[in-house]
């Protein structure tokens, strides 16, 4: 891949987009503080910042989804106002959101047309005309899309492509992509990069939002770095490196990977044999999965989101009854045991969705910190709660896990994402454990919280806990795991050694299930 030419645009040329002094306050947060951003025609401009830095807010303002308190937007030098997405679209701005804005039950074609539908007569959709145009558009990229398939049935990689077609269908000139690679495999990422380069060649301007340093260095012509709502620097890839960008992004010198030290695996603590599980609609989505996790090791499960990881984890955590297979914990059969029973057997589970499962957002921290232990001593005698003990416990846990909160009785919803996750981690890790299940433990968190949680996990590993780490974030898997299993379409298609694994190797397995590597495609993984 050839590096892009360094920007050679003269100061006289008019930027395609200019945002000046954009300020946006939310209750208690200054999300954007006088941000300036300038995007030149035909460039890929990266917006770099950690989670919560204010990148998405800025883009929502550009796209008319949020109204700035102050500041100005100029397109080709002309001031404009974006009061709604409809206006942004009319100005030629298109956005691919981090969480895809696709209606799962509607077809691919209907999703692309939506909002800009060709109509024949008074009311009726002219689907035939639309399909012809869409086929041409998709064909231009060599994409063979079934236009009538419901979008929900596509893989995330294909959904991403539908999103890009949506933007192109609307004749956009500025394309915003918010964390477009978060859900993709390395190979798919490369493919998206190729598409973006081709589009800039055709005159599009691209704003590429990311917190991944190496990606930004690879794809961007220029990089604007945002920290806590402010622009803290601008760089050209040729004149910077990862360390420089990291320091800029976080505001201090950071070690991007924790020192994981040496692991000393012991006997198998969790043994999973030919496990099968079905989703809520009764379709089997976990097929014959077998693996083991030894005491004192971190076993990572990589995979593109939606390949059965959720159901596998729920089956192991007692929240979903497996349809077949066996689960053994330190030799004892615990297949289908309840969440509470597993908890009592020193299994802890940090769920992926802390808002839905891990916390009761309307509860104070005191109650959240005993959510899984409220029913026994010292927090209850019989059915009577001991509020004194619950409060004392909260005070200690908050102190030990460095939860930043105004008080022990603060409502969970008022805390930042990082601190919320620390509450979950404090509750689940603050005892002796046999097995720890970490499902996307750092999703959406800032660098400091990620570091903290990774250190906690390694400390538990060193204390002899078996850890199952599930993450769609490949970097996290590679950073922590002693061994890595790859899930693809409900199967564990390979298990590889962690420290020696390469991104490309795992990425290929995630994307294809390793059919190129093992032609049979159904080689049963060996623990």
């Amino acid at each position: 891949m050839e590096p892009p030419d360094p920007p050679t645009i003269t100061p006289a040329s008019t930027p395609a987009l200019e945002m000046r002094g954009i300020t946006k306050r939310y209750p208690g947060v200054l999300a954007n503080d006088a941000i300036d951003l300038e995007v030149r025609p035909g460039e890929i401009h990266a917006l770099l910042g950690e989670n919560g830095a204010g990148k998405s807010t800025l883009m929502n303002i550009l796209y008319g989804l949020a109204v700035p308190d102050d500041g100005q937007i100029l397109l080709d030098g002309t001031p404009v106002e974006m009061r709604s997405p409809a206006e942004a679209i009319a100005y030629g701005i298109s956005m691919v959101h981090q969480h895809f804005m696709l209606v799962p039950v509607l077809s691919v074609a209907d999703n692309i047309l939506l909002g800009d539908e060709p109509v024949a007569g008074l009311f009726f959709l002219d689907r035939r005309r639309a399909h012809a145009r869409l086929r041409e558009l998709a064909g231009g990229f060599g994409w063979d899309l079934d236009l009538d398939a419901p979008v929900g049935s596509l893989s995330v990689g294909w959904q991403q492509r539908v999103e890009i077609l949506k933007a192109l269908y609307r004749n956009a000139s500025i394309l915003v992509l918010d964390e477009p690679t978060a859900v993709l495999t390395p190979q798919e990422t490369q493919e998206i990069f190729a598409v973006l380069r081709r589009l800039t060649g055709e005159g599009y301007s691209v704003i590429f939002i990311s917190h991944k340093l190496y990606e930004v260095l690879e794809i961007a012509d220029r990089i604007t770095v945002i920290r806590r709502g402010r622009v803290v620097g601008q760089r050209v890839p040729a004149e910077t490196d990862e360390d420089d960008l990291a320091e800029l992004m976080v505001g201090r010198e950071v070690q991007l990977t924790v020192d994981r030290g040496e692991s000393h695996p012991g006997a198998p603590a969790l043994v999973v044999e030919s496990l099968r599980a079905a989703d809520d609609r009764g379709h089997e989505v976990v097929h014959e999965v077998s693996f083991e996790v030894r005491a004192g090791e971190i076993f990572g499960i990589a995979g593109v989101a939606g390949n059965g990881q959720d159901e596998l984890v729920e089956a192991l955590a007692g929240l979903r009854a497996p349809t077949a297979g066996r689960v053994r914990l330190e030799g004892r059969d615990v297949t289908g045991h309840s969440a509470r029973d597993l908890h009592q057997r020193n299994v802890a589970y940090v769920p992926a969705d802390r808002h839905r499962f891990g916390l009761v957002l309307s509860y104070p921290l005191t109650d959240n910190l005993v959510l899984t232990d409220y029913y026994h001593a010292p927090f209850a005698r019989g059915i009577v709660r001991d509020d004194g003990a619950i409060t004392r416990h909260a005070a200690t846990a908050i102190e030990r896990f460095d939860v930043r909160t105004p008080s022990t009785t603060a409502i969970a919803a008022t805390l930042s994402g990082g601190n919320q996750q620390k509450v979950v981690v404090a509750r689940e890790l603050d005892r002796e454990l046999r097995l720890l299940i970490l499902d996307q433990p750092t999703r959406g968190l800032d660098v400091g919280s990620i570091e903290f949680i990774h250190r906690q996990a390694i400390a538990k590993r060193d204390a002899g806990t078996a850890i199952l780490l599930v993450s769609a974030e490949l970097d996290e898997i590679l950073e922590l795991s002693d061994r890595i299993g790859v899930m693809y379409r409900g199967r564990l298609v390979a298990i590889v050694d962690g420290p020696s694994a390469s991104r490309e190797e795992i990425g290929l397995l995630m994307a294809t299930g390793g059919r190129e590597v093992t032609p049979t495609g159904s080689a049963s993984p060996v623990a």
Binding site: A66, S84, A86, M101, V105, L114, D116, F124, L125
Partner: protein, 355 residues
């Protein structure tokens, strides 16, 4: 088979099923008539829920419209000449009453839309309020008005086919069942087809489905979610208005407090049973029409033999309770498999605070 018929319970059950089929065929017209308020109510619910607004206030909307249709028609009858009724028994006072009922339906829907879309109050509470206020206010006014016993403006009549048509085999029955109805029932039969086609083939339908499933996605392609929801809820109000008017100026010609008797809630069950499609919902309403008509049918023409003895011995209250029991059974049986619009019941906030 002979052996089976000799087992008393199973034999009786099979006879009953056979009788049900016969009764349904014989009383096709009555079933469609009785299904009308449920079907129209379900279509009102369809307009709401497909765009993401739960409406449990249909009962109250219907009750309000029933009262308004009756009272306004009666008032209009005092000042306007009734004249000779036109086809379908249409008179000027009745039309005024109907228009008032439609307006009432839209007005109450506007309240629901404001509470659930703009204020973002809880949608189930909003619907409950409508039910309570409607029951209270129509009961209060109905009581005061009936003390002066105003004369009713009458009601619409059914379309009458030329004599002899009824005699034609099959076709006669079909025409009698489907066509010989008052204007409100006929408008439901037309409305359901129109809505079904528009839902899947029109721009409005596509946008409505998108807004009910994933409003933010719709917003990001430039669709005004709030406006579309308002429009659909208000249009739904027209249908609830029609349903209400059916009680007092088509099926009957007087108003009693609480006369909708839960039809608005049964409509919600019909909507779920019909998987949130117009044809499905009205189809389900017909099932409730059967349950509703059964009591009448048995009283008028009880079957012969053991079944007749058995059915006439059943207390009449059981038949009155039947539509409600059927509703519960249907809900319990299908809910798990019927998937609601994903954003149903969730208020939409334009500005997301996600960073």
């Amino acid at each position: 088979m002979d052996f089976v018929l000799h087992l008393p319970v199973i034999g009786l059950l099979l006879q009953f099923v056979g009788y049900l089929v016969v009764v349904s065929v014989q009383n096709g017209n009555l079933i469609i008539t009785l299904a009308t308020p449920i079907g129209l109510g379900a279509l009102c619910g369809f307009m709401n829920e497909r765009s993401g607004v739960v409406n449990i206030g249909i009962e109250g909307m219907m009750l309000t419209a029933a009262f308004i249709a009756w009272y306004v028609a009666a008032l209009a009858g005092q000042v306007l000449p009734a004249g000779t009724p036109g086809p379908l028994g249409i008179t000027l006072p009745l039309l005024v009453g109907l228009a008032a009922a439609l307006a009432a339906g839209v007005l109450v829907s506007a309240l629901h839309a404001w509470l659930s879309i703009t204020v973002r109050a809880d949608q189930i509470i909003s619907g409950t309020i409508i039910n309570i206020v409607a029951l209270g206010i129509t009961g209060y006014l109905g009581l005061l008005i009936s003390q002066n016993s105003p004369s009713s403006a009458g009601n619409f009549s059914s379309l009458s086919l030329p004599a002899g048509v009824d005699g034609i085999p099959v076709l006669g029955w079909l025409l009698n069942t489907v066509i010989e109805h008052g204007p409100i029932t006929l408008s439901m039969l037309v409305g359901v087809v129109v809505l079904q086609v528009l839902l899947y083939r029109s721009r409005w339908g596509l946008r409505t489905r998108a807004v009910g499933e994933h409003p933010r996605a719709a917003e990001t392609v430039g669709i005004d979610v709030i406006a579309l929801r308002y429009r659909n809820v208000l249009l739904g109000g027209l249908l609830a208005g029609l349903a209400g008017a059916w009680f007092t100026i088509e099926y009957g010609n007087s108003f009693q407090g609480g006369m909708t008797n839960g039809r608005g809630f049964i409509a919600l069950a019909a909507l779920i049973f019909g998987r949130w499609t117009p044809v499905g919902a009205v189809g389900a309403a017909l099932l409730f029409g059967v349950a509703d008509a059964l009591g009448t049918a048995i009283r008028q023409g009880p079957p012969t033999g053991d079944l007749g003895t058995f059915l006439t011995a059943v207390p009449p209250q059981l038949f009155s309770a039947l539509p409600y029991i059927v509703t519960i059974v249907v809900l319990a049986g299908v809910v798990g498999r019927s998937v609601a619009p994903a954003a149903d019941g969730q208020p939409y906030e334009r500005e997301s605070k996600a960073t």
